[in-house]
């Protein structure tokens, strides 16, 4: 068995514990979102094996671009290949909302945030499996022991969170309806491109590998800031803990304190 699968199993367990724990604690110990974690698992494979390659082939054939040119392909085609990932993946991630029970859970901005986040994390977990499968097909990695894949581990752990934030942005747009659906989609698209920027820069050989590794952290931090701002924005009155507080002592304000 290719050793990358061992690291994939570790990555899945830790990602699930980490991001599942975050969902559990931040939603006030709610478990009702967890069943959605199953729905997104096959979607990355569908997008990466069928939809994206097909779209690239169709566009290439239509405009007579030979396959396999790599960086020698026309610039517009390279740009299209960069764009195709967010263009396809963002709508695919919200496909489970076509199921009635899933969409019925979107009753407020807060539920849209968490439902979107769960679907994104689920997609990220499936993507971790797909990437492990892709790595296992490459003979160049066959001799590596499982512990050589720490880069895979940290990248996939962060990618789960990133997908969660992107999908949450889109689902919040869908919950608001009308033009906000497009705003949500375009925002998720732009953030996805931003998230992929270090990988694209590295593939185009614009940055060295060391810088690429470090620069993966930047989109992650930006997405964490966005996530926290959204989360605070959708807090509901019941989340406030003031009602349960006990004041033991409070200074009596006199004129001199005013």
């Amino acid at each position: 068995m290719p050793q990358v699968y061992i690291m994939a199993a570790i990555t899945l367990v830790i990602s699930l514990a980490f991001w599942g724990g975050l969902i559990y604690f931040f939603t006030g110990h709610q478990k009702r979102y967890f069943w959605l974690l199953v729905l997104g698992l096959p979607l990355s494979t569908i997008a990466n094996l069928f939809l994206k390659p097909q779209a690239i082939i169709i566009v290439g054939q239509t405009f007579h671009v030979q396959p396999g040119l790599g960086l020698a392909a026309p610039v517009w085609f390279l740009a299209f290949k960069v764009l195709i990932t967010p263009l396809v993946e963002e709508p695919v991630k919200v496909l489970p909302l076509l199921l009635g029970p899933a969409w019925k859970m979107v009753t407020s901005k807060a539920s849209a945030l968490w439902l979107g986040f769960v679907l994104g994390v689920s997609f990220g977990l499936g993507e971790a499996l797909f990437v492990a499968y892709a790595v296992a097909q490459n003979p160049a990695y066959a001799s590596l022991p499982w512990y050589a894949y720490t880069g895979y581990f940290s990248e996939r752990l962060m990618a789960c969170f990133a997908h969660g934030v992107l999908t949450a942005v889109l689902v919040i747009g869908m919950q608001r309806g009308g033009q906000f659906i497009w705003f949500g989609y375009l925002a998720a698209l732009a953030l996805h491109l931003f998230m992929n920027a270090p990988t694209v820069f590295y593939q185009f050989q614009w940055i060295p590998y060391e810088l690429y590794n470090l620069s993966l952290l930047i989109p992650f931090i930006v997405l964490a800031v966005i996530f926290e701002r959204i989360r605070r924005g959708v807090r509901e009155p019941k989340d406030d803990q003031y009602a349960r507080e006990v004041v033991f002592w409070q200074q009596q304000y006199t004129e001199e304190h005013k």
Binding site: I10, I14, L22, F25, F26, P145, Y147, A148, Y149, T150, G151, F153, Y209, E210, N213, A224, F227, E228, R231, R232, R235, D239, D240, Q241, Y242, R244, E245, V246, V247, F248, W249, Q250, Q251
Partner: protein
């Protein structure tokens, strides 16, 4: 003079928790997932060296904090309250500056310094009350907050009733 000071100082322990376990667990995860694999693969690349430079101090810091866990205590002196955790935390709260003492649950944010189930240390941001200087064996629930004009402090004395009574008695004396 020193003896008199010690005599007039009352010590309070925090309520028990397994916070130390989480610190050890974090160190173990970093060692298992980053340090050991990097050492096994070898230090041939600059990435491997960078990984060790970042991860070894972080893992060590978690282990050292876990080692100091039993040293967490609250010292009530004649004119100040001191929150201590090993040599890394010494928060002095002048009793005359205290504006409010209350117990409440705190709202989670994704940002933190050291905050795990059963332990919260240093300045931790909370969703509802902002930054709190924590020296507590709980991260969110039943935190005793002591507020001054400039700062908020979070602690978890084991005998909260006796602690609050003692602080109030000192403040009024």
């Amino acid at each position: 003079m020193e003896d008199q000071k010690i005599e007039s100082t009352r010590f309070f322990r925090p309520r028990p928790s397994y916070g130390w376990f989480w610190l050890v667990l974090m160190a173990a995860i970093i060692i298992a997932v980053s340090i050991v694999p990097t050492l096994e693969v070898g230090l041939s690349s600059s990435n491997a060296v960078l990984t060790l430079i970042v991860c070894i101090p972080v893992a060590l810091a978690f282990l050292i904090l876990a080692f100091w866990f039993p040293t967490m205590r609250y010292e009530l002196e004649q004119d100040q309250l001191i929150l201590r955790y090993g040599p890394v935390i010494t928060y002095r709260i002048p009793l005359g500056e205290i504006r409010r003492i209350r117990r409440r649950n705190l709202g989670l944010t994704i940002w933190s310094t050291i905050r795990f189930p059963g332990i919260a240390l240093f300045r931790v941001p909370y969703a509802d009350v902002g930054n709190v200087k924590m020296c507590a064996t709980a991260a969110l629930n039943n935190i005793l907050m002591i507020e001054t004009e400039k700062e908020k402090y979070g602690l978890t004395p084991a005998d909260e009733e006796a602690f609050v009574a003692a602080v109030r008695a000192k403040m009024e004396s």
